[in-house]
């Protein structure tokens, strides 16, 4: 059977399973719709949290990022797992004890203010929409590459599936579907990694394989370091050798940690378990299941790096492997030769490997497609420079050197020439990762609008039936909006993910932590802190990503701070403002103090 046929089988089977689960777990009340009736066992909730958390970015992009960044890729690994320690120790058990439906609920009640609730609702909506757009796009990419359907048709199919199980079962349907999706995605991630590890190093555990000797001799990481040095890339294992210095790695790691702990779709999962005990146990299971993938991703990244360079370097067109040919069509990897007919992939000016993601580019007023660019470059080589043009300098200036990092995970099984069914399994895994995250986010969007805005502010007298109807309708609308984002991707999607973490770190995280651990903090300081944190972080990201502002060094650091790490500074500002204002502002009412006491006590 071909890869496409296998892919249809796996994707069809997994989608059928998701729909079946949705039908079995349909709900009738808001309790079931928002928090799955609080009846989810800890281990299952951990699995669902893991699937919810691991998005298309974790599954498809992260190993690729590590593959190109080497040591510095560790900031994503540590940031996205270390955040769970903060979550488990500082937030999850207390929020479960608080026992409402959403994050804005806690902020609104703890600070006894609808302004605070509103700030939280707006942040939750922004963070969730940013995130969900990327997921829908991921669905489209997988469909278009593996099933050879149009990206837009792929997005529409994904939308339809999520629509059915999210509106039918709410949080309950989503949770049990996510448990199934976890198994699909982790199997799809581990099988190729194990197969490649055995092939390269003889070890079945990729985590051991990564630190072992290759079958052909020499430690894998030593060899990668040597290849990188020879080709002019920064070292794979040495810290702070490339563009990332210590201050930036530190701040990005910290911002991702605090952002993870503050992301509403992760926090809300801990409302679904039965007890405070279960919330703690479930946080452990969540990180355990996440770690299975996160400990494997660095191995996949390094194996792929080794394979890729090994199978491309110095080859002629006739010698190029099949995977290169099939991915070349997507433009995600592109060879622009310098005329010697041998491929050279390097970190210097003689590099010949590029990527081209957009459908067309406008060059000197002329709109060019990938095919036109390739033709023009061929003409330039054939004519010895008199016709066409040399496209390499243009691509280099645009920062499009090297293959697109997203192909690493998807192409690795092909690189290692694994069976067709393994390649197809990876496609189903990518879809599971994207859909599970999308559905979790859609529920947050729905609850923010239907519960926090409609039921708590606009119409507090709404009946149970009305609330459920509004919840379902909002999910429906949100699915369509998310799908439109996937079909017409705003160019900023990949950059705004940094935004999501920065904002969560600078707004929610300090507000919730202080809300639990510092009883004296009242409404005004908390709202001021959130607004300062949000404003500073958004300003910095918008100005440096879109406004061309040079990154600030704050007079402390050697290099400017990356917008990805600015959330850490926004968070520090939030803490400073809140704590600084607290002694001068009114302390919270007795009612609020009692709320804090009750949250701190596991009993009752």
């Amino acid at each position: 059977m071909t890869v496409t046929a296998w892919t249809f089988v796996f994707v069809g089977l997994s989608f059928g399973l998701y729909l079946l689960i949705a039908w079995l777990s349909r709900v009738r009340d808001t309790q079931g719709f928002y928090v799955a009736g609080r009846g989810v066992p800890a281990a299952a909730n951990g699995m669902a949290t893991a699937a919810d958390w691991m998005s298309a970015a974790s599954f498809i992009s992260m190993a690729g990022l590590i593959s190109f960044m080497g040591y510095a890729g560790g900031m994503y690994l540590m940031g996205w797992t270390g955040g769970y320690v903060l979550l488990a120790l500082l937030l999850a058990p207390y929020l479960r004890k608080f026992g409402h439906f959403t994050v804005p609920d806690f902020i609104g009640d703890r600070y006894a203010s609808n302004t605070a609730r509103l700030v939280a609702v707006v942040s939750a909506l922004f963070v969730s929409f940013t995130y969900v757009a990327g997921q829908m796009r991921g669905v489209g990419v997988v469909f278009s590459r593996f099933l050879e359907v149009d990206i837009n048709v792929g997005v529409a199919i994904g939308m339809a599936i999520v629509f059915i199980y999210a509106t039918l079962g709410g949080m309950k349907g989503i949770t049990w579907t996510q448990v199934a999706q976890y198994w699909v995605l982790i199997t799809a991630f581990l099988i190729p990694a194990i197969a490649i590890s055995i092939r390269l190093t003889g070890h079945a555990f990729p985590q051991i394989g990564l630190g072992s000797e290759l079958i052909e001799g020499g430690y894998l990481l030593d060899k990668l370091d040597k290849i990188h040095a020879d080709l002019g890339f920064s070292s794979y294992t040495a810290a702070f050798d490339g563009p990332w210095d210590m201050a930036n790695v530190f701040l990005v790691t910290l911002a991702l940690m605090a952002g993870t702990a503050g992301l509403p779709h992760v926090i809300v999962r801990f409302y679904t378990v039965k007890t405070v005990r279960a919330a703690r146990t479930s946080a452990f299971w969540a990180l355990f299941f996440i770690a299975l993938l996160y400990l494997t991703a660095p191995a996949t990244g390094a194996f792929a790096r080794y394979y890729m360079i090994d199978s491309l370097q110095g080859r002629t067109a006739a010698q190029l492997p099949d995977w290169f040919r099939s991915w070349e069509k997507t433009g995600l990897i592109l060879w622009l030769d310098d005329g010697d007919r041998r491929l050279r992939y390097s970190g210097g000016a003689d590099n010949e490997i590029f990527s081209f993601k957009a459908g067309r580019v406008v060059v000197e007023g002329e709109s060019m497609s990938l095919a036109q660019i390739t033709r023009s470059h061929q003409a330039w080589i054939a004519s010895g420079g008199s016709e066409g043009r040399d496209w390499r300098p243009l691509f280099r200036e645009a920062g499009l050197t090297g293959p697109d990092r997203d192909i690493i995970v998807l192409a690795t099984p092909e690189m290692a020439e694994l069976f067709a069914w393994i390649v197809a399994l990876v496609a189903a895994g990518g879809l599971a990762a994207a859909l599970s995250t999308a559905s979790g986010l859609l529920l947050v969007i729905s609850s923010a609008v239907a519960h926090d805005l409609y039921a708590r502010v606009i119409n507090p007298a709404a009946s149970e039936k009305q609330r459920l109807l509004v919840g379902r309708s909002v999910i429906g609308v949100a699915v369509v909006v998310a799908g439109l984002f996937g079909i017409f991707p705003p160019g900023f999607v990949s950059q705004v993910v940094a935004f999501a973490f920065g904002l969560a770190a600078a707004s929610f995280f300090p507000a919730i932590v202080l809300g639990i651990f510092h009883k004296r903090v009242g409404t005004a300081p908390a709202v001021a802190g959130m607004i300062v944190g949000l404003a500073f972080t958004s300003f910095y990201i918008v100005a440096s990503v879109y406004g061309g502002m040079a990154p600030w060094t704050f007079g402390l650091f050697e290099r400017g701070i990356s917008p990805q790490g600015i959330g850490a500074i926004g968070m520090a500002l939030n803490f400073l403002v809140t704590l600084g204002l607290t002694p001068f502002c009114r302390e919270p009412s007795d009612e609020v103090k009692n709320l804090v006491d009750s949250v701190r006590e596991p009993e009752g």
Binding site: R38, Y71, G73, G74, M75, L77, M78, T81, G82, Y84, V85, L86, A88, L89, L90, F98, G99, H100, D109, Q207, I208, G211, E213, Y219, L220, L221, T237, A238, A239, F240, V249, F250, T253, L254, R277, R280, A283, F284, L287, F288, A291, L295, P298, F517, H518, K519, R520, P583, E587, D590, V592, K593, N594, L595, D597, S598, R600, E601, P602, E603
Partner: protein
């Protein structure tokens, strides 16, 4: 099962009126000391005027904070310390084919994080059980003393 949050409803807040004097006293203490609430005694819990219960609650919270601080220190040292700040220095040593700093950043820190949450949930769940037993005992004892 849904845990109700009684403190947000006005009726329950009204019921607390009887204990208002105790509440006032504790707040005064709180303000004059100007301590962050981690160290400050919580205000008297109007629903449980029994001082022994208060003591027990305070002890529970302090133990919880102690466990949390220790674990967070390990978190910071393993992740931000070994994984970032000391990574360069640790890279001089190796673990099999791994340079040590690189290993911490891509493997070790994650393993430590998983273990930290496991230890936390085991310790706290045990503490909860002890706290529960103590509270039950005190509640019964407290009941007998009442006229």
């Amino acid at each position: 099962m849904r845990t109700p949050s009684p403190f947000t409803s006005p009726q329950v807040a009204g019921n607390m009126g009887a204990f208002a004097p105790i509440l006032q006293l504790d707040q005064g203490e709180n303000m004059s000391r100007q301590l962050p609430s981690e160290d400050a005694p919580g205000p008297a819990r109007p629903a449980r005027p029994n001082p022994a219960l208060q003591e027990s609650l305070k002890r529970y919270w302090r133990t919880n904070l102690k466990i949390m601080m220790v674990l967070l220190a390990v978190w910071a040292v393993a992740g931000l310390g070994c994984g970032v700040l000391f990574a360069d220095a640790l890279n001089a040593y190796s673990l099999g084919g791994y340079p040590l700093g690189f290993w911490f950043a891509q493997q070790g820190a994650i393993v430590v994080f998983v273990l930290l949450i496991l230890v936390y949930s085991l310790l706290l769940n045990r503490l909860d059980a002890r706290h529960h037993a103590e509270m039950e005992r005190l509640k019964q004892g407290g009941g007998e003393e009442q006229p």
